[in-house]
């Protein structure tokens, strides 16, 4: 029989090759004037310095965890390859972030330069850079999976075929922890960096000194632009690398449990491979005419995603039909439900956060009665916006479960849920491209401003940037939705793993069983505490930036007059240090919580905790992301000349909302996505520890 799994390395190579070609094409563009080159170099070196420092800091964590895992190997509590896979996963996840960031920091000036020519040229460069990032993430993800799969296949080749599939699948699902941990550091560290720099730059530069955004006299301006890259590019890349891996690997493990053997295991990989080709084709359709309006730009980006989605819908049908036949065509329904859910969540995220719709316009209107009402209305907008995504995910889960035959065969239903997560993420290549495009355009705007490229160019980069805000909001919704589905698949894998370790475990996971119930209470609280940690961190880090910027304004003579240059590096350094220090407590929380809960409340408590954290985390992440996005755009709405425009009292009130929204949407909200997945994967890895040593059995 044709080995379906071969599609994984093929997809990986295709994605990476395409990313390479695009990257060559971007690099062939000119970076523009010497000043532009110099600014871009500063941003690049700042971003590199940050990542270097981050990887150094993270390696300490990886060494410690590695030692713990090796000890667990010797105690016979985890698979022998887990420590290696932990490091490799971390490396690949980090590499995704690094490569994405490298292209982004090389594309920013090139986008600004191309925008001098035309809007379409600018769009092309920025989107290509985003696509490099998107395809690197999916390519590396599929590559890592392929390497491990063929290695384990070889390693376990002496076993009977049935057992082989079981061993490989259950080993590989534990391998995601490295990528998850790296993602957490990237998201939290990058999120703290970017918002500390942003808030710091705004509070002193815009508010106190009264100079415009991205003014080269502002000492934090380079740090601000670096932040876009380390937070929104590297962080987002590592996050979705992780969802992409987690969804496929848990689907593979659940496929084996559902009795689909090697074919089932290969299905999610094949689906992802189809998604890669669909995304590549879709990306060809992202182009527009030279005098495109904002709306035409958006529809150009959307066209690519929709075409990719349609291609996956066709390919997935063929996939199920030719592998499992019409008896299992229900699984196709699961894939489609995931795919559609992803698109719908993205759409409703846009509805709640874009100022072309009522909610954000209404929010902008509350600025008339001051900052307090802006905050109250923004929070309630965020809260009410949880309704639709929760319903969408719920409907998608229920459909996936039942169409896959879950009513008769529970395991088949769980496989269906996991497959819907893979379906949602299948077009990740192009979805991530439209998302990562945003920070590149944002940076391009900054460079255009700092290099004094003139009104027309700035207008074009502003158009690109504003579009980037919309796609970023959509991307965030997508990241949250996929994180929730992935987390559910991982919880199912967790229970599977426990069953493998201890088949006679007492499995009363009834929600009214006190250990389960209490687990949900504790899990439900974790996202709140986690969000608090990360918000506080941004506050602390921002305070230090504020002080440094104030110091430079006072101590460097000629700075305000533009005759002397600020010390950009010191702000970058400060943000880097703060981010490194502040990202430790949230990481510890995520790793320690499953262990502590497991040792006291056992498997039941852990299961409850995972469910509780997913439930609350999903709602809280949606709320924070959407409130933050809406505040940002409400401010932009006023700046566009509505309600008194820039500098009015209304604008000041809206700026307060925007500042509160910054850590909401770019630090805490996205970090919660990773929290819920990391909790699951740590639980999976530590399953044997909890089974053996948990107080409550």
């Amino acid at each position: 029989m044709f080995d379906l799994m071969i599609l994984a390395p093929i997809g990986a190579v295709a994605a990476l090759a395409y990313a390479f070609i695009l990257s060559r094409r971007v690099m062939a563009q000119s970076e523009g004037t010497d000043l532009m080159k110099k600014i871009a170099a500063s941003i690049r070196s700042g971003a590199n310095a940050y990542l270097k420092r981050q990887y150094k800091g993270v390696s300490v964590f990886f060494v410690i965890m590695g030692v713990v895992l090796v000890a667990l190997v010797f105690a016979g509590l985890v698979n022998v390859f887990v420590p290696v896979a932990f490091v490799v996963g971390g490396f690949f996840s980090g590499l995704s972030g690094f490569l994405g960031m490298r292209i982004a920091t090389n594309a920013n000036a090139r986008t600004a330069n191309a925008a001098q020519h035309s809007l379409n040229s600018g769009l092309k460069v920025a989107f290509s850079a985003g696509a490099v990032m998107g395809f690197t993430v999916v390519g590396l993800g599929m590559l890592e999976t392929s390497l491990w799969y063929y290695f384990l296949r070889f390693y376990y080749s002496a076993l009977p075929v049935d057992q082989q599939a079981q061993m490989i699948a259950s080993a590989m699902v534990t391998f995601g922890m490295g990528a998850s941990a790296m993602a957490l550091f990237a998201r939290v560290g990058g999120g703290i960096f970017t918002k500390a720099a942003d808030v710091g730059a705004d509070l002193v530069g815009k508010v106190e000194a009264g100079i415009p955004e991205d003014d080269p006299r502002n000492p934090a301006v380079i740090a601000d632009n670096v932040g876009d890259n380390v937070g929104d590019v590297a962080g987002m890349g590592a996050d979705l690398y992780e969802s992409y891996s987690g969804a496929r690997l848990s689907a593979a493990a659940l496929a084996v449990s559902a009795g689909f053997g090697f074919t089932g295991m290969a299905l999610p990989m094949a689906l992802a491979a189809i998604g890669i080709f669909a995304s590549i084709i879709g990306s060809f359709f992202v182009k527009t005419n030279e005098d495109a309006s904002q709306k035409q730009l958006l529809s150009a980006l959307r066209r690519g995603t929709y075409i990719a989605g349609a291609l996956v819908a066709i390919g997935a049908f063929a996939l199920i039909y030719f592998t499992l036949g019409m008896d299992y065509i229900g699984l196709y329904g699961a894939i489609i439900s995931g795919l559609v859910a992803g698109i719908l969540i993205g759409y409703f995220t846009e509805y709640y956060t874009s100022d072309t719709y009522k909610p954000t316009q209404k929010l902008a209107g509350t600025s008339v009665t001051g900052p307090a009402t802006v905050i109250i209305s923004g929070l309630s907008l965020g809260m009410i916006s949880t309704f639709i995504p929760v319903i969408i995910v719920s409907v998608s889960v229920i459909i996936s479960f039942y169409v896959s035959g879950g009513a008769a065969d529970y395991n088949a239903g769980l496989f269906g849920i996991a497959l819907s997560a893979v379906g949602m993420l299948s077009t990740l290549g192009i979805t991530l491209a439209t998302d990562a495009y945003g920070p590149v355009a944002d940076n391009a705007g900054g460079i255009a401003e700092m290099a004094g490229l003139g009104e027309e160019v700035r207008d074009r980069t502003d158009a690109l940037d504003s579009l980037g805000n919309t796609t970023a909001a959509t991307g965030k919704g997508f990241a949250i939705g996929s994180a929730a589905l992935t987390a559910l698949a991982l919880i199912a894998s967790y229970i599977d793993q426990v069953k493998l370790i201890s088949p006679d475990y007492n499995f009363d996971l009834s929600i009214m069983n006190p250990p389960v119930l209490i687990g949900t209470f504790i899990g439900g609280m974790l996202p709140f505490v986690f969000a608090a940690f990360t918000m506080e961190s941004v506050g602390t880090a921002a305070q230090s930036v504020v002080k440094e910027v104030r110091r430079q304004f006072k101590e460097i003579p000629g700075l305000m007059e533009g005759t002397a240059e600020p010390d950009y590096a010191s702000c970058v350094d400060l943000c880097t240090k703060s981010a490194q220090k502040e990202m430790v407590p949230p990481a510890i929380l995520a790793v320690v919580a499953p262990l502590v809960v497991g040792l006291i409340l056992g498997v039941k408590g852990v299961t409850g905790m995972l469910a509780g954290s997913t439930v609350t985390g999903f709602a809280l992440a949606v709320m924070m992301s959407n409130a933050g996005g809406a505040w940002d755009n409400a401010k932009k709405h006023i700046e566009a000349g509505n309600l008194g425009g820039k500098g009015s009292e209304n604008h000041k009130a809206a700026v307060v909302g925007d500042t509160v929204g910054d850590p909401f949407k770019d630090t805490s909200g996205p970090a919660i996505n990773i929290l819920i997945k990391l909790l699951s994967i740590v639980s999976i890895v530590l399953a044997a520890v909890v089974v053996n040593f948990g107080l409550i059995k």
Copy 2:
């Protein structure tokens, strides 16, 4: 055998008699000068007008629901007495609120007048008024239970004894819906009223016109004082009436399921009766010397609560020992765990919200960098403060379950959990007294200001008021904690009820069963949406007050000079109307959600929804209440002369926090308590409908 249940009517009579005596004592005091009498009369008539309007509006809801319930009776889907009990429960709950509010609006001027004499005199009057409220609530609660019990006992007397207990217990647990629904309206309506008036009065009076708080020239000042009474007194009373009933009735039902028959059913009532006597004795110890400091005042109030708690601890031991014997002494452990949990949650609430501790002081410090950082820090304070209450409730649930023998006998364990809720609420008489004391003191301060009673008196009422803020925070923590435990007991009762209706129902309530899981997702989202509704309502209502106050300032000549009187009644009327209109959507949400979820996802979905809403609702309510309390006290901390004091930029930043905190702590946060209980009780009443017509079985 001695009929233990007789303690219920005895306790009821004792509580009501004591409330009557205290109320006579309060009324014997003088209301002071004619001006004070006039102001008090205005507040009283405003509050009465509000309640009258509210009861009228609510009666429409009660009629509609009553008709629905009668239809369900005819369809054989609910107990024949449910419609009557629904109305009676609503009446008693409303009566608790009304009587509490009546004494509060009669005691405010009397407290101000007594404070002219001394601090202790003021404390005595205010505390006595609070105690009238507290003992009225517990007295009426026990009375209602007694009446139904003896009536049903008579009605079912033809049945065999075993069946009698079963029938009575399972009927009575459905009787709480009326009280719950009334509580929701009281909390939400009162919460909207009080904050609309407060925010409206502050935004125009303090911020725009620059006149002090409680200035008689402010047209919204009477509405503001009315709000304290309708929100914090009547709303709080109805809320806790409901917890008190829910906890006892679900404990009684679970006792019967656990096989304890009539004795078990009487246990929670007897425990509550012991609590009543303990509270009466405890209240004798609330007194202080004439020149007491703030700290001494607080310890005077605490002394009463602690003594009552200690007496319950002793009495409960005797109760278990003499009824069930040493074999069941584990149930005593459950009671104590609830009692201790209530005290601890109160303590930690104070820690997070009082400016004598670090968190609030630190929050005040963030005002230096403006309103945005105040908001960010306040939100993260609220979020982080969820950790300890969740752990306390979790530990309490686990202890209650296992010491009651839950590991061997699941039903006994559930009874233990329900009994711990009754234990926590047993001292409600005195806890509510210290809590309801706050708004009375607050009103007294307002009257002292408006009547121009001079610096010294205002200082004393300020001392009483500030103490009231602390006890109010503690009381809120207590209300939330008891709501969570009560909700858990009600969920257990719900499952019990389903088992009674359909013994062969497929009971796979595993948290990974998709209908259950999806139920938790939907349930987890409901508190967010509910909070959004209520916050928006406050915003809408406050806007209308702002406009009215501005209009009066502009159109009434001589108002600012103090030569003309504002039209207080129009503001009261406006708040009343807004509150009535705005409280409808949240109420519909709470009643319709269990029905819709039940009809689609069946019993499993409903169970998941109840667990999910309790988990998220608990965390969200704690977060909102504590953030709100901390913002309030951070502002007060600055007003006390720290960080630049009143009128400074820091103060302005803190006022933004306080304004955001107003609907957090006084509307949305407390209303979530009721939401989670009401969802459970509606589910219990509609159990047969869902069992018969739910799509997913």
